[in-house]
Every structure is written in C-alpha cells, then in structure tokens.
Symmetry: D3
Subunit: 284 residues, 6 copies
C-alpha cells in the first residue's frame, strides 16, 4: 500500500517525542556481524545514522570486523599460529587487522555516510590514542586489554559537527597496534563519553529466555536481573561476553544499553524514534 | 490502515534529503487566517514547528490576528471611526491590538510550543525595536509602514536555541505602537534574516489560474511570471497584496517563498519534508 | 536653584563608589502599585532603569498589574465568581490576565525603555517556561504556586545586553496560564539569578514601627528581626506577605532586599546610587 | 548650597543621553601640563576617568611629562647639549625620560586609578611596540618620529576591562628608546583605535580668536576652518603643533577632538556627560 | 665529538629566528619515496614533525604510497590490466589502495607521531570529503582528478592542536574511492590552507642544472625561471610533474615551496630551522 | 670546532622531550643579581626567554634591582636614614625604587625581548594590583609584606600571547608604593599562577654542602631535606631567605623550583631543554 504524504507528515509528528529525547545526547552504535556484511543493509544503516545525527543526536559509530580480517589473512596467504585454540596475533597480523579495519571497512563506511549527506570522519583507536592497550596474554601477542580511553578527540570531532566512525584498534606508548574486542571498546567509549545510550547491533533479536523461542524475548532487564540470568545459564556461551559489556556500559554511566537485531531494516530508527522496542534494553 | 513501525522508519528515512536541505537554515512561517482559528489545527501546526526546529531548521513564527482584534474591540464596546471605509486606528485601538496580539494570541502560541516540547519566546515588533514604523496615512492613525527591521534580537534568540514567535506590531522613537500588515512584516523580516524560505499559511490552496478550479493550481512561479499574472488580472483583489509580499521577499533575498493552505493537516511538513509541493512556490 | 554643570560633574563623581558596587551585578526591580499608575512616574522609573543598566548593572524588571486586570474584566463585562471572598480565576480570567499583563502593561514598558534609549525585551513567565506553576487551591482555579523557576532565558537575554521586563504569569506542561503573585515571583527569580539586590517598589515608605508615624521607619533589618516584628504584630496584614517575600529572597541568596516608596521621583536611583537609604533594607 | 539626593538622582538622569553616546566607544584622553602638576587635580581627573570607564566608555589615558624629565636631569646633574637651541636627547637622556615617564609618572597614575576603584595598567610605547619610531634629526639624537602604531595591545587590554595608561615613548627594532611628542602620539593612537573622541587636556581654555579675550572662545571648528585660522596667524606659535595634532586625529578617523582646560575641576566629565561644551571641538 | 650542553643551548638560540618565522604558520609536508621506506628515517622524520609542531608550526603531513600498493596487489595475487602501458585502477584496486594508504601507512605514521609525544590524527581524502575527485580517463578507472578541496576538516583539526596525517585518496558523491596523485594533492591542499610553505620530501637533492653533477643544484628559483628550465629540457621527464606541482602551489598562494632530499637525516629541520638551504626553493 | 647544520638538527631533536614537558606550562623566572648587570648576559638571557616562550612555555619574568636603586639614590644626592642598620624607605625612596625598577630596568628588558622577536609587556606590582602590600615594620617605612597576589592580569596577558615582565613593587588601597622582596614576590606569584616551575637566577651555582667546594653541589633536594640543612647551618646567612622562598613556592603548589647560576651562558635553556641539571632543584 502506498503511504500518502499526509501520512508521512503524521509519522514525522509521531517521532517528535523520541527526537526530543535524543536531542544533543551522545548515542554510541556498535556495528558489526551480519548487519555489516550486506551492502544493502550497510547502506540503510548509514542512512539511519545520518538521520539520527540530523535530528540532533551525537552519533558515534564503533565497528570491528573479525571475518574480514580472517578473509584477508587467507588471501594474503599468511599462516597463523594457534595457542589453546586461540589465534595468535603477531605484529604482522596486527598490521593486517589495522589495514582491514582502519583502511577498508572504516573508510568505506565514511564514504557511505558522505553519500547519504552526512559528513563523517574515520578514526581508529590509534588516532589521538583513543584506546590505549596492553598485552592481555603474552602467548596471544597483540591482543589488547584497554588500559585507558582518551575520549577528547571524539568529543572535539562531535563538537565540530562530524560523525565519528571508529575502528576498534588499540595502541601503546611504543607504537604497537593491538586488536581489541569491539564490544568492550564500544562499552568503554560510551562510558567515557557519558552517552545517553549504547546500541549494539547484532544478528540476534535480543536476549531470549528460551533461545529457540523468539516469543520469549526479554525487552527490558536490569543489570541485577542480567547477572541472575547468567547465573541460571539461560544465556549461552557466545552471548555472555556481550551481556557483560552491556552491564559494564551501564556501570560506566551509560543510561540505556540496547541489544538489537541489526538485520531488521532501520532497526536503529525503530528502536530510537518509534514506540516499538525491538530488542533487549538494559537499565540500571 | 495501520502504519507499522518499519514503515514509520522508512518514512523517516525518506525525509532525510529534505531535512538536510533545511538544516541550519532560517525558515520564516507567516501564520494566520483560518489555520489559526481552530484549536486542533493550531495544536497541530505548533507540533510541526517544533519538529522542523528539532530537525535543525531555525524556525521563526510570525503572526497577525485581525479578527481577534475586531472581536475584542466589540467586546470592549469601543466605537471605531472610519475614513473612506477604512477603520481608524487611534491610540486606544492600537493598545487593543497590542494587547490581543502580543498578550493573548502570541503567548498562547508560546504555551502551545512549550507543551509540544519546544522552547518558545514570544516577542512583538516593539521588543528590541524589531519593526520600526511610521504613520502611513495621517487620517488612519497608528497604521504603520515599516521603516526599518532590526533583526538582531531575532538572531540572538535563534542562536540561543529558542523558537521566536513574533506579533506584527510596530514602534517608533516616541513610544507609539502601530498596527502593521503581517504579510509585509513577515516578508521584510525574512529578508533581513536572509531566510532560506518564507512559508505563508493562508486558507487558499495557492495561486489558481481559474480561481474556481482547484486543478489550475500553479505550483511554481517566477517573480516575473507573477507580475504578468497580476497584469492579466488572473489574481483577484484580495490576493494581490499577498502576491506582492511574496515577490518582495524574493527580491529581499529569500530563496523560496510558498503560499500554502494552512488548513491541510501538517501542510508545513508536507511542503518542507516530503516530495509533495502543496501550494505555490515563488522563485527568482 | 539652578545646578551648574560643575556641580553636575561633582554629583556624578560622588556616585562613583555606588556605581562600582553594582557593576556587573544583577538587580531585580519589582515594579507595581501606584508607582506604575502615573504616566509621569512610569516614564521616570524607566529612565532610572536605563541609567542603572548603562552604568553596568544587569537590571531585570518584574511587574504584576492586578488593578488593570480587574478593570479589563469589568470593561469586558465578565462576571466573576467568588469563593470565601476570593475571586476565582477560571481559564477565561487567566486569559484576560495574560492579555493585560503580557500584552498591554509589559509591552508599554518595553516601549518606554526603548524611548529612553535602552533596548528592552518583554517576556512573561510562559516564555522559556520561566515560571512553572501548579494550582494552589482547586476552588480558585488558575491561581498558581511557583513550582520551578527557569532563569536561563533571563540570563541569556542579560548576556546579550537587553533589559528583560517580565510579567508574572505562570505556565504548566499542559499549556495552561496561571496568575501568580508578583512579589513571590520577583523574590524567587532574584534568588535563581543570584541577584545582588531585589528592590521592591511599593507605595509605602518602608517598614514603620508605628504605621502612622513616618519617623519610625526601620532602615535596616535582619531576617531574624523581621520574624520577630511580625510575631509582635507590628506589621499589619497587608504587609505580611511582602515582608515574607523579602525574607524568602534573602534566604534564596539575594544579598540585599529593599522595600522603597516608588512614588518618590527617582527612588531607585537614590537608593542605589546615593548615600541615602530611603526605605527598609533586609539583610541576612 | 547643599544638593539633595533627589537632585543628585535628577542629575544622573540628565546625564543619561550623554552616557548613551559614549557607551562602548573609545575615548582617548591626552593628559599633561598644569592639569598634571597639582596633586588635587590629578586625583580628581583620575576619578573622572574611572567614572567614564564605569559608565561604559573605553578610556585610554595618554601622558607625557616634559617638565618632570627636565627636573630629573637637573637633579641627576646631567649636562645637556643644545643644537640650534634644541636639547639633544642622547641615549642617557632617553633613559632618564623613560625612567621618569614610564616609572614615575605612569605608575603613580596607575596607583591613583586603582585607589579610585578602577583597575589600570601602565604601559609605554615600548610595550608591545605600541609606538615604533625613528630618528627625526640626527643632531638631536633619540627624538623620534612615529613610523608605526601597533594598537593591538591597547585593544587587548581594553577588551579585558583594564584602563590603559600610556607613556609616550617610542622604540625601534634595535632596542633604542625615543622621546616622542605626546600630542602627536595621542592623535595617532586615537586614529589607530578608531576612537569616538580625543580629549586634549591643556592649560588653556581652547582656541581664542583673540588670545587675550576669553569671550572669543571658538567652541566648534572644522578642520578646514582650523587651517584658515592658522593661515590668518590668529593662533600663536605654541598652539600650532597642538592644533595640527587635532586636525591629524580628525583626518585619521577620530570623530570629535576636544581641546579643554584641564585645570577646571571635572573638565572631562563636564565635556562628556553634560550639555556644556567647555573648550574647542574639532570636527570634520 | 661530543656536543656539550652549553653548545646545545647555543644551537637552540640560533634556531630562534627560524622558529619565529614559522610560528603559527601552516607547513604542508609531502612525504614519500625512499624517505618513507626506511624505518629509521621514518622514525626520525616523525620526530622532526613533532618538533616543528611543538615550536609553533601547524604541520600537515601528506603521504602517498605507490610501491606499497603494488606490493599488496602482488601479495593478494590480483591481476591488473594495462591500457597503453598504464595500470587500470578498477574498483577492487582502488579498495586495495585505500586499505594500504589509509589503513596501513597512515595509521603507522600516526603511531610513530604518538610515540614521539605528538598527538596525530590519521585522515584520508574521503574523511570530510577533503579531496573530491572525478575520473580522469575512463579507460584507467578510478584514477582521479581533484575537482574540489574541502580544507575545513584539516583546519578544525589543526585548531584543536592535532597533527593531521593525510592519505591522498579521493572520493565522489556516489561513494567511490579514487587513487589521486600525491604531489598534486599536497600542492592543492597547501593552497587551500593558505600555507606558509610546502616541503616536498623526495629522494633527489633538488633541481640540478646537470643532473649528473650535484654541484649544479639550484637553491632558489622563481616560477618563471622554472618554466624556462622546463622549456630548455634541463629537467628530465620524471621531475616535470613534480616541478609543475611546485609551480601550482606557488600560484595557489603558498609562499615558499621546497624540494628536498628526504633521505638526509633531519632534512626538514635543517631546511626550516637552520640557515642552510638544502634543496631547491620555489618562490613567486 | 664548527657545529654542522646536521648536528644542529640533531640537537633540536634531542630537545624534543624537554620541550614537550614545558609546553603550555607556566615558568616563572626570577632574574637578578650579576646575571642582570652584564649587558651581554642580559641580551643572552632575553634570547633564552623568547625561545622558551616560542617553544610553548608561558614564561613570566620577575625582576628586582636593589643595586641600581642604591646607585640612583646616590646620584640624586638623597640622604637615607638607617634604623638598626636597615635603610628606611620613606615615600621619596619608594618613588625612586618605582622609577628605577618600573621605568628603567623593566622597560629596558621589554626593549631587549622585543629586539629578540618576542612581544613583551612591562608591568609592576601596582598594575592590576598584582602585589598588594602592607607596612612590615613601621620604622622602615614603605618596605612591604605581600598581603595578596592578584594573578588575573598576568594570566590575561599570557593568554593573549605576551611575555610579562614584572617589577616587584607593591601597592595598597591608599595609592602608596612599596619596595618588596623580589624572591618572595616571585615565589608567591609562581604559586598563584600554579606554575610548573620557578627558576631563580642567582650568582651562585646552587646549594653546596661545603660552600667552598663546588663539587659538593646538591642537585636535588626535598623541602624536608632543605629544612634539615638549614637546621644544620650548612647554608650560610645570605642563602637562607632564598632557600625559604624556594620552600614556600613548593608549598604554594609550584612543581619544581630551581636555583641556578645565571652567569653561565644560557643557564635557563640548559636547565630546561637539556638533560643537564646545573643548579639545585627543590621538590616536594
């Protein structure tokens, strides 16, 4: 059915209270997984971000890109070592990660934002030393724990009206590059920016009480309840670190943290600018 | 038919290029006539203005209120003199106009904007001497010609993020109040503010080649064509001053001037944020 | 006797220490009563305010206007109900109050300030939601208690160099207008602005120990002494709310609060810029 | 006769239009001669300057001090050479001038301004290279012609709210100090500051058509008329350079230049803040 | 021989006039070729840049990286087509260029600057649309001509005190990436930034009259002389585009353009902060 | 031996970490004694200060000048009284001190800084009431104890990029001038400015354990150790007040305080920009 322009205006008006809520507030969007693989979805997500930015939110996009790094390692024919089943990130691998994240994925997102009429600036954790890191486990090489977040550059860039897009790489005082966990990085950055909300775009619909039954989606959860649910082993392995990051973000002062299914078209807008909550919201 | 949230998001995304066009630009809205009489419409128009403001436009609302002034004169039992069929605005009448415009209509609009979540500030042409005026015709008393527009106060208020709502009264150096034409005032203010567009909300659908046939609406017209159409007497008497104001605004540097039917719900949003042009647009 | 220009210069020089004291400080002047009824006095008071403003004080003028509201109610032939002898302010009465205060009295004061060379801006408690209010007593209708003062708009306007003139109306989130007590409003606003002083222009000469003997004027009183004097019933009924407002203002952080007789020509200037104290000064 | 406080207030009000005229404008006061010799007068002039500054003028005080330099040369027992009857300013003499002007006279004036409640800053033409100079006549040593005026420091100091007091010394790129003519320096600085007026405080009452008859004072003169009067030799020798400086200042863009008798108490205030013109005003 | 600390201080003092010359001025450094291949040199150049930045210059580093792109194409086993001997840059090749320039080289330089104590930010021509480009020759694919330089982002970043490092990639409104010539890009950016100087770090010592005789180095050349020398075919093929870029930069308003041998340790510092000119300087 | 430009660049690079340490930090230099007597040294010290300032430090120069005051008293043939062997500073003597310090020494230093390419501004404790003082001992006249330091003027001047040079005179509310101890003044000002370091240029090499053996120089000392050393009478009389000032400065929040031998060429630069510590450093 065709939507008339009168209906369009009506829809815009209904978005008003939601727009007011985000006006001038920092929203960190963690972008990754399948939502980042399809060109069509990527295009659509970037449009959503430009829109959110234009209606007054200070949007910060944080992305990782594990699968593309692995693909490049394979194309380049680099052999990788494993310790206890975990891949070792030697200096060369860290260079590949840097190249793929900060050079390929990041600048492609900048290009897409620009195409949609926004003005983006592509950064990584090395720029302005946003993410300072240290070795987590000597045997795994340049896999980093974040030791410090310098949010000043991101704030400067937001103040000047740009949309910052940030690759989750870390650096140290000796000029080394680290691969760091994107969920953790997004959570810590959101905390350092005193963000209104952190939206984690994944490929699941949120937290399910029964992971095989979509109707058991938990739409709102406190950090206390989240700890309980993890204790009860309702959440399976892969979700646990994500949930922990959500809890961390709340503990760092972020008001609301969302896990949403990024493969739903305009999931971010539906979550932020309509009365429908489509994933799981974490609150204090 | 119910519009889904997915469709809502879709609609928001389609508004993106229109939002970009108005971002940071001054839009002067001349508000009056029937669009101002119905409470429901008034409520709806104020919502549209808050929305336009939130998505980044610098909206200035200019209003008159002839019928309400007449009504008050009657309630107060004041006798009015006429010269050549035109009402004489003596000092007392000018006081009533001031009271009704700046006290009643203006602050009620401020209240409505505030209720919709915006933050308005109600001004009149006396505040900051926005409209300096002089007597147009001695016999008619305090009916003013605008001699100077001081737009600084309006710019200061926009810079601080408020939505200015302006009653079209004039003042002079001796402390007199003048009733001034609202269409002219809006056009001159739009020029002084270097506005992107002036939207005149009337109760007609625009300029019609045949005033009895809505299908003859002219959707776009140059100032040159407008002069021709007036010469050909296609436009009838009441419209001529309005059309002249539109032409004046274009000549003062306003990019686009619209005459739209303010009684259509969300007419302003349809005109600014969708691909539908619903009235007549004047261009250079 | 004619004052020579040499004497004039001498007088200006003597004003120096007083000017220094008010430089850059906020002075709230509550204006009302008889001082507001005579055109000549009004003219003179506005001149005083422009002068105070030019010599560096940040003057805020707050006014009510009960008698003029009553007069308008009568002219308009509106019947008013009474409960326990108190007039009921129904929505229509609140509209009349709004019209008279914000449209007539307020903008006339703006006109006078402008005529004297200052640049004023006329606001009411609805603009920028300066005075948020709620119903005080259901039976009395829209008579409001102030629940919150938003002083930001007043500060923005002072920062830009305008003289704000404020009608004491209140508003709520539903778009209703309230009649609020002008003395209370001035005291609360002075507190919110962290004012150096609040000057209440009345038609009495200050607090008298014996209300029939002008020579018993108390020129300086602490809030503690003021409580005592009220306990001793030295102050009669009409003065009690005014004195309470003065005490409130001091408790809200205003340094000095004055009650002066506004019908004395240039009473404000004599109080602020000469060594003569002409009313009663409240201090901590 | 005692002036009452009511009269004082009246006087302040009469000063209003004059205060408005100088608000935010730069006023350069050239101070010297007998007006600078009496302690009482000095005290009074500094009070006038603080007052002018407090009511919104941006006052810059420029002073020389020939007699005190000569006195110090004598005390120090330094012999001075003469060429064609003009004293030679060798490096040592320039040092004495610097010491007396910038160290003694200047800082004493700063002390007096501070005592009156203003906040002054004492500068000389060497600070921030305000007056760049070159040798005028090799035989006379360090007597300088001004080659360039750097007004930035003075503007920075005014912007921060200080009252700059400036000794008329010059400097060059080699670190030499020059004695420069104070009248010329004041005129050039007033031009560089785009001053509203330059007030030259001398010990004569202005330009007289007959120098022995005070009643022949010319109260207003155009630069053209001033040239004529000099051609007619109406002005005697000592006045010619002063008149030339006044003309120069007008030609540099200063709106009004005054020669007044600085020994009249509060001459500056009478000239600026009352309706009495007490000297000669030069205009374009 | 050991340099004593006294001598060190002496050296610093000698650098003073050179430091003064660059204080607050924009210096664009085009970095490439062999100077970028050795790790030791790279480290040293980054130290020089941090130093220049600390002593007050606003340094912008522009880099390309042709050889590393070719190397990556080979590693990735991508086949490349050639037209008339020139390599075709298809979309995939442009992606590789983007990845290598903006991801690898650029962020490694950021890491090095950070290690030296500066705070760098790595950008490419896509960020903030710094370099807008279009296809130069349809047959060669995404090889771009610069159509527009948006220097605002670079200026914002300099204003905030960061050292911008810029990869010479171009973008268009459709989100395509272009490989653009680094010398041209540096020259155009220097022009848009109104730079004091552009320093092109190459692997030759400057322009030689006889390319086999280092003693024939031309240390200073006007643009007119440079045209003549090219007309006389004194400069061989490879140098011609570089010389043209230098001339272009001068024509765009850059004050001085240098070609220096970047393999000499601290060549940039020797050129900017000592009295030795080590390459060829172009002037108007 | 000649230092090559390559070596010069090397030296500059080695200064990098030291420059970084002082970037944007306030450094107060107390200048006096023999280091101030030789013209050559004075010239060299001013060059050092301009350099420190250009590389980003906010340098404040504080100077006294006892010997030159005494010399002037003698030249002027003024007789001085003594009380208990201490010279009485009557009003006339205070005037001479003011003249010599603020007029002669101060402005000569300004001239030298300007000559070196810096832009200095010469102030004394009277300007902006930097040093408020009171009589220390009635019998000694205008010898002042500092009662308050107003550092705002110095901060304003630094913010605008000037190098402030400050004579250590004091003032009071009655317009009197005081001679104050320069070491104390420098220490208190450094504290009020929250300085990174205070460098006291004396004519001794620092604190020696055995004052006859230069090899016993203490290069670093805590305030606690300094108290001990004074208790042990290792430091002789003349040094005690200096050491007390150093301790005071540390207690006021200055990070590091140095006593260095100002007669060593470029002592300030060696201390701040090389790895050699040449005097005694006091720390918490």
């Amino acid at each position: 059915m065709e939507i008339t322009n009168a209906q369009r205006a009506e829809v815009l008006v209904h978005a008003l209270p939601y727009i007011e809520r985000y006006n001038g507030k920092v929203v960190v969007i963690k972008y990754g997984g399948n939502a980042m693989l399809s060109d069509e979805l990527k295009d659509s997500v970037m449009g959503d971000i430009v829109l959110l930015s234009l209606v007054g939110a200070k949007v910060v996009l944080v992305h990782g890109g594990g699968p593309e790094i692995t693909e490049m390692i394979n194309i380049m024919g680099k052999e990788t070592k494993f310790v206890d089943g975990l891949r070792v990130t030697d200096a060369e691998t860290a260079q590949i990660a840097q190249m793929v994240l900060a050079g390929k994925i990041n600048k492609n997102l900048v290009n897409l934002i620009n195409k949609k009429g926004g003005t983006a600036i592509g950064l990584c954790g090395i720029d302005g030393r946003i993410f300072e890191a240290e070795v987590k486990d000597e045997r795994l090489g340049y896999v980093g724990n974040i030791t410090n977040v310098n949010a000043q550059l991101v704030m400067d860039v937001l103040e000047k009206g740009y949309i910052p897009i940030i690759s989750t790489l870390g650096c140290d005082k000796n000029g080394n590059t680290y691969n760091i966990n994107a969920d953790t990085a997004a959570a810590k950055l959101a905390g350092a920016l005193d963000a209104e909300s952190l939206i984690s775009m994944t490929d699941i619909s949120g937290i399910l009480r029964d992971k095989n039954d979509p109707s058991t989606l938990i739409s709102k959860i406190t950090t206390k309840e989240a700890y309980e649910i993890m204790a009860e082993k309702i959440i399976d392995g892969g979700m646990i670190p994500k949930v922990n990051c959500c809890i961390d973000a709340i503990n760092c002062g972020v008001k609301k943290v969302f896990i949403i299914d990024g493969t739903i078209p305009h999931a971010v807008l539906i979550e932020t600018l309509t009365d429908e909550g489509i994933g799981t919201m974490f609150v204090k």
